[in-house]
């Protein structure tokens, strides 16, 4: 009577262990996270931007979001408060004082940074976010469950959620005009910018140009390309005429946002060895204590 029970124990335990180990093969099939050498980037030169907000209009138009007519975008009163991208505006421009030329304030365009090592892609429970070859991080409405973990994870606080919708609320953020760039068109904002404060091109080239500009016009810029290294590097990068902290850029180290959590995750699930080992140890303890008890 003891024997079959013990054999059954082993058999079942082995079966369960095998199933878990078998799953590990598929578990690695995560979301697409391509870091192509040809990925695109944009250089935002905040010293060139004139705050016309044409990019906001172009973005709304390109994404089918409701917008007032272009003429109303000249309204400078919107700069009185700091704005953030939201479900109705995937990019916004904010104004900051220029300490040396008070009548030429700085303007900072805010949108998704399209990180090289995106927290949202790493965090998303169902892999609804993916980083594409051309550098765009896009969101898949067919997968998203609306848990908003991407919003908690994003170091730039970019993804936005349709809180007011009861059915099929969407996560919205700049998609680097994925459909437009697929058709070899420029992102809508880059196309619209009258002063070409947004320079679109291969990321490596964009970094090179940023450094070249800093070298040529040294006194125009602070010596830092924001996004070159921040959070492991971002697709969108910025030049500025004053300290980035004064322009409300988050102070981030060079380590990618998902680095630590992925290391922990992959440590716990290293080929499912730790869980299976724990399973085996617990099984052994259970078997031994049981034997002892029955033997007693």
């Amino acid at each position: 009577m003891k024997q079959p029970s013990r054999r059954a124990f082993l058999k079942t335990a082995a079966l369960a262990g095998g199933t878990v180990a078998g799953l590990s093969a598929t578990a690695k099939a995560g979301p697409k996270n391509v870091l192509s050498p040809d990925r695109n980037g944009v250089l935002v030169d905040t010293t060139v931007c004139i705050g016309c907000r044409s990019c906001e209009y172009a973005c709304r138009t390109a994404h089918g979001l409701p917008t007032p007519p272009l003429e109303t975008y000249g309204d400078k009163t919107v700069f009185k408060e700091m704005r953030r991208p939201n479900t109705g505006a995937l990019t916004v421009v904010n104004q900051y004082p220029n300490p040396t030329k008070s009548d030429l304030p700085y303007y900072v365009k805010v949108q998704c940074m399209h990180c090289d090592h995106p927290a949202c892609v790493s965090a998303c429970i169902v892999g609804a976010f993916s980083k594409q070859e051309n550098g765009a991080i896009i969101w898949d409405t067919d997968k998203c469950i609306g848990c908003r973990y991407c919003m908690a994870a994003c170091p730039f606080q970019i993804p936005s959620f349709e809180y007011e919708k009861a059915l099929n609320p969407e996560i919205r953020k700049c998609d680097f005009c994925y459909t437009r760039t697929q058709e070899n068109k420029l992102p809508a904002c880059v196309d619209a910018c009258p002063v070409e404060a947004l320079t679109f091109g291969p990321r490596e080239e964009v970094v090179r140009i940023a450094k070249q500009r800093m070298a040529t016009y040294g006194n125009r810029y602070v010596n830092h390309v924001y996004g070159e290294l921040e959070a492991g590097g971002t697709g969108w990068m910025y030049l500025a005429g004053r300290d980035f902290a004064d322009l409300k850029f988050p102070k981030l180290g060079a380590s990618p946002a998902p680095g630590v959590s992925e290391a922990i995750q992959h440590g716990i699930f290293a080929y499912f060895v730790p869980p299976v080992a724990l399973y085996a140890i617990l099984g052994a303890i259970m078997w031994m204590t049981k034997t002892r008890e029955e033997g007693a």
Partner: protein, 390 residues
């Protein structure tokens, strides 16, 4: 493209600032006033006469281009986005005229061609935004970068309509009208302030009074001598009310002490702070009060240098007329010019008879000659009006 390079070569060959006309072309004298490297202008390591392989748009240095003022374009019409907007009418001459206040032609024409003629924007800046070489802005970006920094300060707006007129039926010749209107225009004379008082943060004397009138008219300074980096917004501002000359301006700036005083220090570098920073706004310079010698209407019309010399620190000039009026002779002098036509009796006298010790500054008194008190009731001649100048 072909046409362009041909043009360049031609210009290069016949350039007035030309290079050594000898048979050897390996090395020529560098263009004046620059420390230009060969590769700034030449793309290949060994340029030859037939193939100088000139760089179309050198971006390393600013090369001085010679460009007589009158050959610059008057009014330009830029119609690159004809599908949406009519051509932008740009009063090139008007802008060029005032550009001396802020850096001259190079303000916009920031890089010059190797052929040392002034390049227009479109010759370097490509029309397409989607392009391989993104190191410089495209034409749209280049235009707007040049225009918008001043125009948005001026209008406090970034509206397109300030320069672009929308294509609308029935408004087709609006641009042409505007072009005609601007064609012959020159910048109106700038009204100069006589005196400006600044309230500064200086503890010892917070007021600095600047006599613009004196500097511009008397000292003969040109606008660009002081106004080196002036933006258009200094005058062109839709919200700025016309300020009275004497209004006290509070100085609010983040500029350094050196930057702030730069226009003054070019002359007043050795002056003490107290000579400008005083407790209250200064009154205009009064020759009589400061030197004790009132200027008459003739002297008032003169420039300071006329009497005090070209030196920047004026020194005291003694009040004897002969000190300045060296070539003066009594025979040629008509007393009428002083406003007093001498009568016959007095006309025959020697100057010294009335003007004791030839001191013309001190008016003579009748009592100096006449003991009889009745004489002074009459004048030694009759008063005449001299000039309209008083």
């Amino acid at each position: 493209m072909k046409h362009w390079s041909l043009c360049l070569i031609t210009l290069f060959l016949f350039s007035p600032t030309g290079f050594g006309q000898g048979s050897k072309w390996e090395k020529h004298a560098p263009p004046p006033h620059t420390d230009v490297q060969c590769q700034t202008c030449h793309a290949c390591p060994k340029p030859t006469k037939t193939d100088p392989c000139l760089v179309k748009c050198p971006r390393m240095h600013i090369l001085p281009g010679h460009h007589p003022e009158q050959t610059g374009p008057n009014v330009l019409q830029m119609g690159d986005i004809a599908s949406q907007y009519g051509p932008v009418v740009f009063a090139h001459k008007l802008h060029a005229e005032m550009s001396e206040m802020s850096g001259g032609c190079y303000d916009c024409h920031h890089y010059n061609s190797t052929a040392m003629t002034i390049l227009s924007c479109r010759e370097c800046h490509p029309k397409s935004r989607a392009r391989a070489d993104i190191s410089m802005p495209d034409l749209k970006g280049a235009y707007h970068r040049q225009c918008m920094d001043c125009h948005r300060q001026w209008t406090h707006s970034t509206d397109c309509n300030g320069c672009h007129l929308k294509n609308e039926p029935g408004k087709t010749d609006a641009e042409a009208m505007r072009a005609r209107e601007l064609a012959g225009k020159v910048h109106p004379e700038v009204p100069l302030p006589t005196r400006v008082s600044y309230e500064t943060r200086n503890q010892n004397g917070s007021y600095v009074t600047f006599f613009h009138d004196d500097h511009a008219k008397r000292f003969g300074l040109k606008c660009a001598d002081c106004h080196k980096q002036e933006g258009c917004v200094r005058c062109h501002d839709v919200t700025k009310s016309k300020t009275a000359d004497t209004k006290i301006r509070e100085v609010k700036t983040q500029r350094s002490m050196e930057q702030l005083h730069e226009p003054c220090f070019s002359c007043h570098a050795s002056d003490k702070c107290e000579s400008c920073h005083v407790a209250a706004p200064m009154k205009a310079f009064d020759h009589a009060r400061s030197s004790g010698w009132a200027l008459n209407r003739f002297h008032l019309a003169l420039s300071c240098q006329k009497c005090h010399g070209e030196k920047k620190r004026f020194t005291k000039v003694d009040t004897k007329c002969q000190t300045c009026h060296k070539g003066w002779t009594a025979a040629a002098f008509k007393h009428r010019i002083t406003g007093l036509q001498l009568d016959e009796t007095h006309g025959g006298l020697e100057c010294e008879s009335c003007h004791i010790e030839m001191n013309f500054a001190k008016p003579p008194s009748c009592a100096g000659c006449h003991e009889d008190k009745t004489y002074p009731a009459q004048r030694p001649g009759k008063m005449v009006s001299t000039t309209t100048n008083n």
